[in-house]
Amino acid sequence: MEVKFNVRRYDPESTDAVDHFQEYLVDMDDSSTVLDGLIRIREEVDGTLSLRCSCRSAICGSCAVRVNGEAGLACNTKIIDVLSLDGKTVTIEPAGNLPVIKDLVVDFQPFWEKIKSVDPWLQPEGEEPEAEYLAPDEDMLHLAGVVSCILCGACVSDCTVMEVDSNFLGPAALAKSYRFVGDPRDDSSQQRFKTLNGYGGVWDCTRCMKCVEVCPKGVAPMDRIMALREQVMESGYKNTNGARHANEFTNSIKHSGWLDEKKLVIKSFGIFNIKAMIGLIPLAIRSQRAGKVPPIFHKNIPGVENVRRIFEKVETKK
């Protein structure tokens, strides 16, 4: 089948260094992957096209790009699965949220800096045993689901928080941190929670699910971030915006059956946090103008007792 690859190009050395799309028409098999296509282009059509790729079997993490606007590995994406409505076009762009070096090659330095910042190594305490540490197989199997992260950057590429806040540690680094927090051999969780609870940490995720959607290895970074939130709170970090937000959210639903947005905001920041309260005034005015201010009296929904029963059930199960 003839495939039209629409590839975003950028050559920093050209006199008019602006990015642009270039079209390549290539004949491919039904079973070909996007990477097969890109390799064919650079070997047979245009040797100037640059991209990173190596293992061709979704284990080295080199070839994360955006295919039709969504991050994924070129090597395990079949062309036939991503053809646009015209039945012949595929659009390829570099991974997002990282600066482009050339064509499909992005600068991973900011990515590695985030990984480094979570102290990504095992930190056991006490004397090392002569043989292996004993650890339950279930725990190790559970960790295997995170250890299988290949650090390809697909999650970071499409993270909607990193797009607006470069300080966010991001899904890859947080999942990496979870890998150690969840390891029965690691004794540094308290130290790790301090970082995770801080600015750019677990509370900055907006739960958009994008990282779960694009991860080629099923690592589900967002789920790991949510698990870390629980552990951070359980370890005693309850007096933060994030923790208060989570608590008030639960309380509100449990009490009235729906969310009391006014109270949620006030409780999250803390009513005595004068600075934050004043900071909220412009938002309140804008909401007023847009007709989006929640009702003054927050009433219970009909059948709230059923909602409470659900809570009771879930909480006793725990």
Binding site: R42, S54, S57, C60, P120, E128
Partner: protein, 558 residues
Amino acid sequence: MLDHDILIIGAGLAGMRAALSAKELGADVAVVSKVHPVRSHSNAAQGGINAALTDRGDDWRDHAYDTIKGSDFLGDQDAIALMCQEAGSEVIAMEHMGAIFNRDEEGRLGTRAFGGQREARTFFVADFTGQALLHVLYEQILKAGALVYEEWFVLSLIVRDGKCGGAVMMDIRTGRIEVVRAKAVILAAGGLGRVFEPSTNALICTGDGMSLGYRAGASLMDMEMVQYHPTTLKGSGVLISEAARGEGAYLLNSENDRFMLKYAPEFKELASRDVVSRCEQTEINEGRGLDGCVLLDVRHLGEKYISERLSQIRELAMDFANVDMVKEPVPIMPGMHYQMGGVKANVDGETGVPGLYAAGEVACVSVHGGNRLGANSLLDTLVFGRRSGIHAAEMVKSTQHVNVDDSAADDDKSNIQQLLANDKNESFGQIRLDMGTAMKEHFGVFRDENGMREGIEKIESVKKRAEDVYIADKGNIFNTNLLFTLELGFMLECAESIAVSAADRTESRGAHTRTDLPDRDDVKWLKHILVSQNDGGGHELSYKDVVITDWEPVVRQY
């Protein structure tokens, strides 16, 4: 000019293990890799790492004998014994660093069975053991603060008066070329899979280290011993781990027969790799294949077991062969996988060129001889990576730098200028494909005199054409077009050394199977073939006797 005590070329398991052990001893170490460390090909090792742990009732001597028998008695027995003795502590060290490993009911490290071994002694992390270990070593490199030149490409080694004194390398991101002065250089640059087409190997496995070592005056040993893995996917050549058979998979021919029962009644599907690959190819050649393949069947293991222990290969089979292994058997064929040979090195990594070390797949110690056992390659990288790092760190304490300055890069700079200025029209892609196809056809599972002669001629003509490769990209930044052309030069050198070594060995042993000379000849050929470069730039062959200690060669049956 950059300056270090030790420069390690390659950041896979061998390179990073060497870096850690040398850094622990206080040496100033730098690692250089053409890809980021976690992109290295050690990732691809799926099944596990072998070790005979005495507290499990296993014995290193049994591991050693299985390895020696697997090597078809071409492995050096002193080196094999040492590797097997150090295996246990190496696996435990990885566990202490953070490798998770699957466990048994008591929470100790669990094992699985692997090919060519009488004991289940393969420790594993599901079916991505290599990736799990690679990431752990990278974590340790970060913890130790070791310097890594990421995405730098080594162009040549610097040799003065027969001593290795550093390397010339290019920053892929900027095109900047730098001289690095080093008292010791450790080659840990991995294998050469891309010399063959298809291959299970990553696109980066282009024999750089073997070629660099050869050009620097080291010998290449056992180069004719090229492993064909029994279970690779057709077309892409993607690997399906031996773990599948270790966990109990069957091999079936078109008549639905478990044909290995006939060839290897005791070990069956878990005979050593050269044996299983030959049997599969025989079935296919005799008309009992399916479209050039036989079938790998795991259905009887059940979905739960498969998803717990073979999840990655299930995904691979779905992605690359459109087959769900839980529901149907997957067509597989023998595929080029590993180079047993490499830069001749001793158990401390010394190559014979002072200052130059080699460890991992790039090296040949020789612990694999004519055929490597599955799950011995990870072990090889760690044991000999660590030992090379230690030896080099001790050596540099009492060694002076050789006399090197920035002019050492002049030849490489002008070579690159010349390549970029070339206005001929050969494409590296076509040349690599022609080389790879010729190597597969003439130096594959079965070989013979006429075929190998023809193969050598083809390689020569391809090499001639390679002088006329056109590089379309003239830029400095991430010029992969230029890199591939440089890699092609490395690959052609490796292809030639494989071809001349294979044509020289007039017997069948391990992975080197000649249909015209089907028998092993222990009288004449209990020796290694070494290839080195003579003064005129041509090949020179020499020989070294196999080291035999406790285990006399016997007829090999599985």
